[in-house]
């Protein structure tokens, strides 16, 4: 077969550019650490990577949502825990005050303690998380409870200014969890029932030396205490739910990250050995091409 000079040069040019391109591509995999550097490197893998990336970014966000939720639940749990203790103190006080040996003066003196507790519980009911009231439904910028007083400064009622829709956060594709509370469901409306009414009535009974009223307050406080326990355990259950969800998210994140890495990250050892083999091929091509190009009959004439 005739071999023209043009064929020789063309072949050398083509082969050298091919081997050089292979080497550069192999090098890109090593330097970027990624198997997929362009959309066309592995389009099918890329679609999976994109969907995994979306899921991962979403999991991060859900994680942030959960930590917001935890801040609300923690604030609520702490506040209601304190309320529970205050109610226990009041129960002890009621039992003491119901004692027939006590006189009107002593009972009157205790009334001030009850009012102090009322104020404390109202302030706990106005607890905020991240600057938002948590026992006010979704009217989170509205102070839910304010003590109303009569002309002589005695508390008459503690009306609720929030609404009945608890604040909720998103913890899954279709799952929302209430992390705030409808304050009325927790503390009552302040005039027909609930801990505020109990305390106001208790105080009035103490001031009017009404033993029957004090006994009634003991029963009411018991009910309020049980009610509060159920609310605390409500919040606790939600906290557990968030914790479980957080765990699941972390596990998923781990496995998704691994899948994503398998898809898009380069196996560095394999990539480096690939570069080495491409380099050897390139060097061999250069060496032999240089020799072939040099040869000519002219040198021997």
């Amino acid at each position: 077969m005739r071999v023209s000079n043009q064929s020789t040069y063309d072949a050398i040019k083509y082969q050298l550019s091919r081997t050089a391109e292979n080497l550069i591509n192999a090098n890109e995999v090593v330097t970027s650490g990624k198997r997929i550097n362009k959309l066309s490197d592995d389009p099918i893998g890329l679609v999976q990577v994109l969907s995994l990336r979306e899921s991962l970014s979403n999991m991060d966000q859900l994680g942030r949502n959960i930590s917001t939720g935890n801040a609300w639940l923690d604030a609520g749990e702490t506040a209601l825990g304190s309320v529970k203790e205050l109610i226990t103190d009041m129960k002890t006080l009621a039992i003491q005050m119901a004692n027939g040996t006590l006189g009107a003066g002593e009972r009157n003196a205790a009334a001030a303690q009850v009012e102090g507790t009322l104020e404390q519980i109202v302030s706990l009911a106005n607890t905020q998380a991240n600057g938002q009231y948590i026992f006010t439904g979704t009217k989170t910028d509205t102070k839910p409870f304010e003590i109303q007083r009569n002309g002589s400064g005695n508390p008459t009622s503690v009306p609720y200014s929030g609404n009945g829709t608890p604040f909720s956060i998103k913890i899954g594709k279709t799952t929302n969890v209430d992390v705030g509370s409808d304050g009325e469901a927790v503390f009552g409306d302040g005039s027909t029932g609930g801990i505020f009414k109990t305390l106001i009535d208790f105080k009035t009974s103490l001031e009017s030396n009404n033993v029957a009223g004090i006994t009634q307050a003991m029963t009411d406080l018991d009910n309020d205490f049980n009610h509060m326990i159920s609310k605390v355990s409500d919040i606790g259950t939600k906290g557990v739910r968030l914790d479980v969800k957080e765990k699941i998210l972390e596990d998923l994140k781990l496995s998704y990250t691994e899948r994503k890495s398998n898809l898009e990250d380069a196996d560095i050892l394999a990539a480096i050995s690939d570069v080495n083999s491409k380099e050897t091929a390139y060097q061999a091509a250069l060496a032999s091409s240089a020799k072939v190009m040099q040869m000519s009959l002219i040198d021997y004439l």
Binding site: L39, T140, I298
Partner: protein, 567 residues
């Protein structure tokens, strides 16, 4: 002629012949690097014998012809494959550009912008009254809109660049066909008196170059001129005439005469021009359409939810972002130019509720019925004006719905089952209907408190911690949208995947064509290209023959002297 003079004459012919042969060789050597040059070989023939002294004696040698070594079949195949290769190479280049535009490894990729956008809605749902969350969401939204319009702008820019290339390509083609016509003329003239080898090579070279620009067919006529047509048979060169192409807007036109042109855009399939046209007219529009569909769905879905809600305050003065088109204020909404006029409910049961606040804490609601097939903008304006005349005024402002509350009054919306609010651009998040025009609703720019994270309660009150709408919007990312039949994120991933697949398959086709073209080139070069080694061998061969012929002359000379010395 006889005897010694015969020898001298034969020797002279031999000298001439070898010299001519070496001439041809030197021409070959000189053209070793000339593209598409076909090596030439002298045809050396013994002269016709003559009878002398009763014998038939040979009468030396002469060069009768100089031949061009070419295989027309290979050249033809090569030229056609070259056309395919040029088309796929150009497509490969531009697919690379598209891949760069949709680059997923950068932090500003569309998919990461979308993820950020959903995250911002989540963040707002965690703190619906937060000013910082609102600003962040606004920025995310406008960056997302910007990214969409950048992408579509970049695609349009590639289209423009392609048109420049096409324009340039058409000029090149005209230049080449004119040269081929000119060469046809020269070759015909020269063939009449001898061989036109080098001109034929030049013409072949031009045809090869031409087929890099578009798919052509050619054949050589009996009078040695060449006829060149496009792949579909539009004549480009016939004898010494050439027919020009021109670019008229987006159309490539073939000028059969000064006054008559034919649009041949769709018939060009090969060469760079074929590749550019395929990119410009098929591939880029396909991705642009998909991008617009994605943006359109995103805008519509977000707006449809956003229009249900309310921000931290009510509105006092509002103009929709979408217009019905000039003179269309009396036309039923579905038939107007509204961005999403077709998405308005036409069942006759759609409605939205408008809540009027009198500034003294009283909220009154009015239900406005909307039927996209029966109601016009004027009808909606009239209905809103009946709500509370003097306190709430609706207007047709240049084809857009505008609503103004009297001093102290303010209004808000809820329960839009008709889709009319989102279609009219009232209480929406985005404006625009496709990637190019995607922007934030300008009403939100001045007052981010109007971003509707929550909804009015049953009595028309705003609760600043209500995040119902924000939660719904954050959940949009998981939902299949009706227009796309897929989630927005999956649709985008598939769009980018399809670009990758297209690019991959074009690259593979290119590599395949490259191998074939290389093989054909090799085959052509094996026949036609110059080998220096071969020419040197020939040179030595002819040099020796030349020396031998010279020796003949000196021998004849000696013979004459021998004769002359006889006394």
């Amino acid at each position: 002629m006889s005897g010694i003079s015969l020898i001298l004459n034969t020797a002279k012919d031999a000298l001439m012949t070898q010299q001519l042969a070496m001439d041809v060789i030197s021409h070959n050597v000189a053209n070793v690097n000339t593209p598409d040059y076909s090596r030439q070989t002298p045809t050396i023939q013994a002269n016709a014998p003559a009878s002398y002294a009763g014998l038939i004696l040979g009468r030396g040698v002469s060069v009768t012809d100089v031949q061009r070594n070419a295989d027309t079949f290979i050249e033809n195949s090569l030229q056609q494959r070259q056309s395919d290769l040029s088309a796929t190479s150009e497509k490969e280049v531009y697919m690379g550009v598209l891949e760069g535009i949709f680059n997923e490894n950068s932090g500003r990729s569309l998919s990461s912008q979308m993820a950020d956008f959903w995250d911002a809605w989540n963040d707002l749902s965690n703190n619906p009254s937060g000013e910082a969350e609102r600003s962040a969401l606004y920025e995310r939204g406008s960056l997302l809109g910007q990214t969409f319009s950048d992408l579509s702008g970049n695609l349009a820019q590639v289209g423009k660049e392609l048109n420049l290339s096409i324009d340039n390509g058409v000029e090149q083609i005209n230049e080449m066909t004119a040269k081929i016509a000119d060469l046809n003329n020269q070759i015909a003239n020269m063939s009449a008196i001898g061989n036109a080898n080098d001109l034929i090579d030049q013409r072949q070279h031009l045809v090869n170059q031409l087929s890099e620009y578009l798919d052509v067919n050619y054949y050589v006529n009996d009078d040695t001129t060449m006829t060149v047509t496009t792949g579909r048979g539009y004549v480009l060169v016939s004898r010494d005439d050439n027919y020009s192409l021109s670019l008229d807007g987006n159309a490539v036109k073939w000028e059969s005469s000064a006054s008559s042109t034919t649009d041949i855009t769709d018939t060009i399939k090969g060469g760079k021009l074929g590749g550019w046209l395929d990119m410009r007219d098929t591939i880029i529009p396909e991705y642009n359409d998909k991008l617009n569909q994605l943006a359109g769905s995103l805008i519509w879905e977000v707006n449809a939810i956003h229009a249900q809600g309310v921000g931290l305050e009510r509105m006092t003065d509002l103009t929709g972002t979408s217009w019905v088109g000039s003179g269309n204020n009396g036309v039923v909404l579905a038939n107007t130019n509204l961005d999403f006029g077709n998405s308005i409910d036409t069942g006759g049961t759609g409605s939205f509720t408008i809540w009027l606040n009198d500034g003294a804490g009283n909220n009154t609601s009015s239900v406005i019925n909307v039927d996209g097939d029966a109601d016009s903008l004027d009808d909606i304006v009239a209905r809103i004006n009946l709500v509370s005349p003097g306190n709430l005024t609706a207007n047709d402002t240049n084809g857009k719905l505008s609503i103004t509350a009297a001093n102290g009054f303010s209004f808000a919306f809820s329960d839009d089952t008709s889709g009319a609010l989102a279609a009219l651009g009232i209480n929406t998040f985005f404006s625009g209907s496709d990637a190019t025009g995607m922007k934030m609703n300008s009403n939100l720019e001045s007052n981010k408190r109007l971003i509707a994270a929550g909804r009015l309660d049953a009595t028309g009150q705003i609760a600043s911690g209500d995040n119902t709408n924000a939660l719904d919007l954050a959940g949009l990312q998981y939902r299949d949208t009706p227009a796309l039949g897929d989630t927005l994120g999956n649709y985008l991933a598939n769009l980018e995947g399809s670009i990758g697949i297209k690019s991959q398959s074009i690259t593979r086709t290119k590599e395949y064509n490259e191998v074939i073209v290389n093989n054909l080139k090799d085959a052509r070069n094996n026949v036609s290209a110059v080998s220096i080694d071969e020419e040197m061998t020939q040179l030595i061969k002819f040099q020796h023959a030349y020396a031998a012929a010279a020796k003949l002359i000196s021998t004849a000379d000696e013979m004459y002297q021998t004769l002359l010395e006889v006394r």
